[in-house]
């Protein structure tokens, strides 16, 4: 069982739907939403609870749209 749990929060208005974050995530946590933001971009969204809070997705996001949280489980 994972000893850490992570969550990402995506600023969907800042996101430009470039898709760079999705393959950066080894946990397959990120996919593109079917919905559009106000600029017409298909924004990124979290699709599972497997996030480990590794921050890889946030590192490659050119628009700084991803905030990452992580908690240690004992």
């Amino acid at each position: 069982m994972a000893t850490v749990k992570g969550r990402i929060v995506i600023d969907t208005e800042r996101c430009k739907g470039c898709q760079l974050c999705a393959p950066a995530c080894k946990e397959g946590t990120i996919a593109m939403s079917k919905n559009l933001n106000s600029k017409g971009y298909q924004f990124a969204t979290s699709i599972n609870d497997d996030c480990t809070g590794c921050i890889n997705c946030a590192l490659v996001c050119p628009d700084g749209a991803i905030t990452v949280y992580r908690v240690k489980l004992n």
């Binding site: 470039c18 898709q19 946030a58 590192l59 050119p62 991803i66």
Partner: protein, 258 residues
């Protein structure tokens, strides 16, 4: 029991491990989706924040897609005429030797119209730092051929691919300036994968820290994508960059202090 933590329990300020640095302004970036300029901006600002240098930094913005960098980077900035950023930065640094002074330039700005300013600032050993974003094209003006465009690469002004017989060879300006005695630290990086972002940040840290030594010019090239100019999706452009740009512009340190 802890396995049933709710999103709200996890997403607490004390659990935050990454967020966009406050040294990036709230303005939405004017860059195309997936463009490396945004990541390059953020890394520079993260380092300046971590080193607590916000009030002590002056940046010089170029002409090119990053012409509006002063709207995005929450530090003192001056915008320079096309290619002249190293000359402007020279003046600023000589007037304010205690400030951290850097330029941020594209390849058209730094290696075409500004070649003279670049080479001479490097050769004079100005105590400035240059961040050079090389996407092998004039992004802003619609994807024309640049001195850095690869052989065979198609652009708006080389629609059949760059023919080196008639259009000359791509210029490895970073290797060129590394040979000048005035440069202290020269490195080439990229920002398209998490591992590369981490390495690029380390190089940026060094290029900022070394300025305090007054030993000469510090230079970090970031080989980047221009998915609009290259007419690819962001993911395709990063793959193309790995397969075509990196063999010609290999990543790594080019000149390190002894």
């Amino acid at each position: 029991m802890q396995d049933t933590l709710t999103d709200a329990q996890i997403c607490q300020p004390e659990n935050m491990v990454y967020c966009r640095t406050a040294l990036m302004t709230q303005a939405p970036l004017s860059y195309c989706p997936g463009c490396g300029h945004g990541t390059a901006h953020r890394l520079i600002m993260e380092v300046i924040e971590e080193m607590k240098m916000q009030a002590n930094t002056i940046g010089v913005a170029p002409v090119g897609c990053s012409v509006l960098a002063y709207d995005f980077l929450d530090i003192d900035m001056q915008q320079a005429a096309h290619g002249r950023a190293p000359a402007v930065a020279t003046g600023i640094k000589r007037l304010y030797p205690d400030k951290f002074v850097f330029t941020y330039q594209g390849d058209g700005d730094l290696a075409a119209i500004g070649t003279g300013e670049t080479i001479h600032a490097c050769n004079r050993g100005e105590n400035i730092t240059i961040f050079f974003v090389n996407n092998g094209i004039y992004g802003m003006t619609g994807g024309q051929m640049a001195p850095t465009t690869l052989p065979g690469m198609k652009t708006a002004t080389s629609p059949f691919g760059r023919d080196t017989e008639t259009m000359g060879h791509p210029l490895k300006i970073t290797e060129l300036i590394a040979n000048l005695p005035g440069t202290y630290f020269v490195s080439r990086q990229s920002v398209h994968t998490p591992a590369n972002v981490r390495k690029a940040k380390k190089a940026i840290e060094k290029a900022i820290q070394y300025q305090k030594l007054n030993k000469g010019l510090n230079f970090v090239e970031i080989v980047s994508n221009c998915n609009s100019g290259w007419k690819m999706t962001p993911l395709e452009s990063n793959k193309w960059m790995e397969e075509n740009m990196f063999p010609f512009y290999p990543l790594g340190d080019i000149k390190v202090p002894k």
